[in-house]
């Protein structure tokens, strides 16, 4: 098993509600290592790259939105002026760019064995209302897709955590330079891995 890196972004709702420390603490407590961190405004240029600028991504997000609207009996065309999934995906991406720039964000790179799976477990379901208690999203938020859609805004879900090992590598390289990452041994490390 090899070590993986994951990018965590504590989004503006987490920053402005003053829960950065409480969230970071959870990743430290489980034994993951923070090998880099920064607090700054995310630039549009980087956010655009962060959420894949591909037809497939737009389609996936657009279709998810359309499905949710249909379930609620809402007409997506009224809000988005289109029912084309890719076009809707692009609108949602615009919302995400605005959301991530509501305040500076707290970014951390965590490292550990099977790190991606662990950070996703700790972060919880990306839809806060579905996230279990004990997870970051389950404990600190309760937003729903319905409410976000009704208010024409993205889902506010506190934290971003890399989805796959490949995303982890890509996102860490996007937001951090090699000089901003550090190698060191945690005090408890020798009791965790022999």
């Amino acid at each position: 098993m090899t070590k993986q890196k994951a990018l965590l972004i504590i989004k503006p709702d987490g920053v402005q509600r003053g829960i950065i420390g409480k969230i970071i603490l959870r990743f430290e407590t489980v034994g993951l290592k923070i090998i880099g961190l920064k607090f700054e405004m995310a630039t549009s240029d980087k956010i655009i790259v962060h959420y894949p600028e591909t037809g497939a991504w737009f389609k996936k997000v657009g279709e998810r939105t359309l499905t949710n609207y249909a379930k609620k009996g809402l007409n997506a065309k009224i809000i988005f002026k289109t029912d084309d999934a890719v076009s809707i995906g692009k609108i949602v991406k615009g919302w995400l760019i605005t959301y991530l720039q509501e305040s500076p964000v707290f970014m951390a790179v965590v490292e550990g064995y099977d790190c991606i799976e662990i950070v996703r477990k700790i972060s919880g379901n990306t839809v806060p209302v579905l996230a279990l208690p004990g997870t970051v999203r389950g404990d600190f938020s309760h937003d729903t897709i319905d409410l976000a859609n009704e208010q024409n805004r993205p889902l506010r879900n506190i934290i971003h955590a890399s989805d796959t090992p490949e995303d982890g590598e890509k996102e860490v390289n996007l937001w951090f330079t090699k000089e901003e990452l550090f190698s060191y041994e945690l005090a408890g490390e020798k009791f965790m891995y022999k």
Binding site: I20, E28, L37, K38, F182, Y184
Partner: protein, 194 residues
């Protein structure tokens, strides 16, 4: 009244996974995070964080003398001298060594009386003498006789600026002349700052 202060989490606290705890403490009191970065400074960068003047070195030596007097330990037995200049130089060198044990986290926090509030929550720089409830008291038992017997300085694990001049100088030193800190609204702002 609104002040900025520089807080540094030193290597031992990073290795123990206390980054979240420290951030949580300052967030909870209502201070606003303005900047943060993980960093591994060179010996020179650490050296120049301190004033380093002969007066300052002497003062450091006198502090060590006072702390030995307080604990009733024989300073001559440990250091073979009771000259404050020599003691100060001894401490200065080992201080730099301590800071180089691993990466540190440098932060700027803002709020009314931020300097005093941050120092109060940090506590006395000798953990064994820190008031209960302060960060140094909660997370360390270190003392001067202990550290001297192990040929190192007391691990104070959090640096907090001492006064407005120091804060200004240190913020400029660690974040540069032209660093602009982006203001944003915290949840407590509308309750206490309006």
């Amino acid at each position: 009244m609104n002040e900025r202060t520089l807080i540094i989490i030193k290597p031992d606290a990073v290795k123990r996974g206390l980054i979240g705890k420290v951030i949580e403490t300052y967030e909870n009191v209502g201070l606003k995070l303005m900047a943060a970065k993980m960093f591994k400074p060179s010996a020179d960068v650490i050296k120049n964080h301190y004033p380093g003047t002969p007066e300052w070195i002497k003062e450091m030596g006198e502090k060590t003398l006072a702390s030995f007097k307080q604990s009733g330990d024989d300073i001559k037995k440990t250091f073979k001298t009771e000259d404050p200049d020599k003691l100060g130089q001894f401490v200065y060198e080992r201080l730099i060594k301590y800071w180089m044990e691993g990466p540190i986290v440098v932060m700027v926090w803002e709020g009314p009386n931020a300097i005093m509030v941050a120092r109060k929550l940090r506590g006395h720089t000798i953990p064994a003498l820190a008031d209960a409830g302060t960060l140094l008291a909660q997370y360390s038992f270190d003392s001067s006789p202990l550290s001297a017997s192990l040929d190192r300085v007391v691990k104070t694990f959090i640096h907090a600026s001492g006064n407005t001049d120091e804060a200004k100088r240190e913020i400029k030193y660690w974040f540069g002349n032209h660093q602009k800190f982006k203001n944003y609204e915290r949840e407590v702002d509308s309750l206490y700052l309006k």
